[in-house]
Amino acid sequence: MRAVKTVPAVLVLLVLAYLPYVPQTVPGLFPDRVNGPGSLQLLAVCLTLAGIALSYDVLFGRTGLLSFGHALFVAAGSYFLTTTMTTWSLPLWLAAVVALAGTTLLALVVGAISLRVGGIAFAMVTLAFAQAASIIVLRNPGDLTGGEEGKALPRAGVPDLFVGVANAPYRYWLALGFVVIAWCAVTWLIRSRAGHAMAAVRENEPRAAVLGIDTYRTKLLAVVVGAFVGGLGGVVHAVVLGGSNPHITTPEFTLSLLVMVVLGGAGSRWGAVLGGFLYTYADARLVELSGTSAFSVLPEGLRAVLSQPLFILGLLFIIVVYFAPAGLTGLASGRRLFIRKKETP
């Protein structure tokens, strides 16, 4: 049964892996031909964000932790990579190891402190930590983080395979590989004892505690695993985009992860991945859509508002929360989401 269930995932993976060999153009859907550098770069970013959304779902969908600080760990992965490569001239693989170790350590400390409060207070505290990191990055201490400009990946340490317009397919496969790793990690986690404990904490934390589950350690594990996968996503993000962008440190980035997961369907691997992919795609392509002739018939004010992708995505998000609480994948399967159930007073 389990083998049958993995068939669609493998099929999708095979199709995606073959895309760099498809020379056709799909008008409107992609900026150039499917295997052109523009399309593959866009797809690579979408896939990276899909994997990062999957890492956020470990906290939100699997454990029921509303964290507003996940950007901190993605940014940590990205910025540890670029700064160690610049400062110590490390090769890419070693810098990635250092970045992941640093991110995991950071997650342990931040998680241990912020999990002292629960529920909404946890959300606020994680938000504060992420904001602190965002401030540090923007202040650019000792010219380490590059401030608003971001930090470019030093050319010397990166293998030639990942550099240049012509090598977009390799960056695309790298992003695809990251999604596969994130998918496998999350699958392994949710089928383990710890994963079941997380589900128990999500459904009813006091009951889980009474049953003898150490809820604090369970939640801390969720934070750390989510941060590890998210940090890996940050590393891949930096390689795909050729550097660290301060946007991924902001609370808005975490909010967008939350929107992705809820849009797609929280607590479901397909949901998080689809949500992350579609959100990023829509965010990038809606701007171009608003420049087309179809839009020019609308009145000025409406056009100005609709040209903001976040306005459309924000509205869509509210609609999904109301009418499809299990997200887009939930619509397809009729699955009910955990937050659907009424909370007992």
Partner: protein
């Protein structure tokens, strides 16, 4: 000495703004358990309503009167926005706290994007009367006058809300609701309409904070809401989640810490020391108090 006075007064001024931003959040959270992410959008609504009002008034009106009208309009717009949001979006999701938070997140995204789409992402300068932009000398220190205005408004709002909570029937219901909402409902009191009133009050406070913060920054811009909101969140957590007096104390503390650290350490350290303060408060405080509240 004069530097110390200057820092304390400017810190208090900042704390006053934080209090105005956080008071609405704290009231709403305390009674309804809703973490209102759209609070930043409410503040934007107030700030832009005030800015539009000042632009619409004829040039013959003195700037001070314009600003006063702008403040009144901003407060009213904030209240109306809060009222509408509660009735249309929050009420149908009664008791589903996480979904309520999600809706306010969507509203914050869409609201900020709408403002940015209509009026652009660049800051628009906002006029200040000369007396507000000037300084007053107290014990050798040149104190900016606008800080006194913020402190004054914050004190009035604080005392007003405190009186409302202590001496009116509405305040009694709110206080009882914060303490034990189920019991209040069981006693046959209409908590639902109280929610609406509290949301409108929170929106009004947010609108007021928005326009005053715009005069503090010298302009209105779409990014203002989010930046003020984060400090308001920190103030609410340090103040003890829903405790009104606690919020006021925390706002003053955060404003002072930020201003002093910015001066005596380095620019930018203030923001970080506020987060550090939050971590210390969380580590020292017994964790069990809020942990049960989801």
């Amino acid at each position: 000495m004069s530097t110390a006075i200057l820092l304390v007064v400017t810190g208090l001024g900042l704390g006053a703004l934080y209090f105005l931003a956080a008071s609405g959040l704290s009231l709403i959270y305390g009674l309804m358990g809703v973490l209102n992410f759209a609070h930043g959008a409410f503040m934007l609504a107030g700030a832009y309503a005030g800015w539009l009002t000042m632009g619409a008034l004829p040039g013959s009106v003195p700037v001070g009167v314009k600003l006063l009208l702008a403040v009144l309009v901003a407060t009213a717009v904030g209240a109306v926005v809060g009222l509408v949001v509660e009735v249309v979006l929050i009420r149908p999701l009664y008791r589903r706290h996480i979904q309520q938070v999600l809706v306010t997140v969507g509203l914050a995204l869409a609201g900020t994007a709408a403002v940015q789409g209509i009026w652009g992402s660049d800051p628009h300068p906002i006029d200040k009367p000369a007396w507000l932009a000037g300084t007053t000398e107290v014990a050798g220190a040149q104190l900016p006058n606008d800080r006194f205005l913020y402190i004054g408004v914050a004190v009035v709002v604080f005392l007003g809300l405190l009186a409302l909570l202590r001496f009116t029937r509405l305040g009694l219901v709110i206080r009882a609701g914060v303490e034990n909402r189920t019991m209040v409902e069981a006693l046959g009191i209409d908590v639902q309409s109280t929610f609406t009133v509290v949301f409108a009050m929170g929106g009004a406070a947010a609108g007021l904070a928005g326009i005053l913060y715009a005069t503090y920054a010298g302009s209105v811009s779409p990014a203002q809401g989010a930046s003020l909101l984060i400090f308001a969140f920190i103030v609410v957590v340090i103040g003890g989640m829903g405790s009104f007096v606690g919020t006021a104390v925390a706002a003053v503390l955060v404003g002072l810490v930020q201003q002093l650290a910015n001066y005596y350490a380095a620019s930018g350290v203030g923001d970080l020391s506020v987060v550090l303060l939050l971590a210390v408060v969380l580590l020292v405080r017994r964790p069990s108090i809020e942990a049960g509240r989801a």
